[in-house]
Point group: C2
Chain length 217, copies 2
Amino acid sequence: MATPTPHTAPAGLRERKKQRTRDALIRAALELFTEQGYETTTIDEIAEAVDVSQRTYFRYFANKEDVAFAVQETVEARFLEALAARPAAEAPLTALRSAVTVAWDDIGDAIESVIPVELYMRSFRMIESTPALIAAHLRRSSEMEEQIARLIARREGLDMDTDPRPRVLVAAFGGVMRVAGQVWGEGQECSVASIRELTKSYLDHIGPAMEDDWRAR
Amino acid sequence: MATPTPHTAPAGLRERKKQRTRDALIRAALELFTEQGYETTTIDEIAEAVDVSQRTYFRYFANKEDVAFAVQETVEARFLEALAARPAAEAPLTALRSAVTVAWDDIGDAIESVIPVELYMRSFRMIESTPALIAAHLRRSSEMEEQIARLIARREGLDMDTDPRPRVLVAAFGGVMRVAGQVWGEGQECSVASIRELTKSYLDHIGPAMEDDWRAR
DNA sequence: GAGGCTAATGTCAGCCGCTGACAATTGACA
DNA sequence: TGTCAATTGTCAGCGGCTGACATTAGCCTC
């Protein structure tokens, strides 16, 4: 049995060329977005920077927003893999926490193969300060949470349609992840290690946050 | 001292006319959106139905999405008022729960003064099945949650920048509210009372959902 | 109640995101 | 090398959205 999902480089010249165009579009778009702003950047500019037609851009990305989340997509895929690999004995929240911790190690390389981490971080900030991208980000996150909740429900042998607990837990988890991302984006330390540690410590607050009387202690 | 916020009818003819145009645009838009779909409806159609120019539409609403959330806006305002009025002695989650319960009673009338509740419900379903509107809905919700978290933090005398608990609790609260809205939209019972009860019972799950071992029941 | 003021509206031109259709180019494979 | 299929470019066009300017219509004063 080989690796669950290879993450390998493609074979043919045609395929490699496509990959290069795609990566170039991502780099150019993020560079332009972070430098002059998302709204003021046009698709024509992105396409021109990579020397392809506007129509070609839309053959790689369905819309203007998508290119901003292309890297995030791989990050999320890695996390889902890591979560699915957690032992069934772990409690739900523990499994989520462990999966995040484990996944971040692989993720760094996956990001760096397309863009420098520093650009990834800048685009993070850009997303959080652009209303249209915030909306897209949240929608993506909620789809992600739906998948995660399904996974958790299956682990625990629960029916998501009648038991709201998977969704509720995952909603809290997702919220914490989002906040962690924001704080990381605003900070100075742009290493992958720093966001991993930030996430871990924030996740430790999920339990205590639900107590009734916060003023006691 | 008068009522905290009047919700009264405006005075001048000019003002009343504006209000009527606005309401007519909302009604026409929701009717068209729910009947033939959001994407396939054009602003020109909405404007024509109310017999105004397309440009006028954009003087009332900043974009195509906004008109779909016009009613929701009043709903949210009522909730915030209700929350601010809760006694300081209540625990955070209790205050949220009580505010929701109290607010729904006023909200029914506020909705009905613009559109029939049945249309409100249909538009709810429409929003949840339209990707672009889901994104907008989530962004609005997250802004709402930010406000709520701020309110909660102030009640408890906490600093939101250092203490993540307000955000985490409100994230869970917001998630549950969203799920309750979805379930209500998909159901048959389109009364305001039904969504109020649904919300109440769902909120009761927030505490238990955070336990470590769900299989211990 | 006539006239001036200002807010609301209509009209027009134009940018940009996005799509379908068709032609031109280029890698793949016999 | 020649055929086939995939990728790309070009073009036309729709719909969301905006600025600019002219027109209309409520408001307020004398």
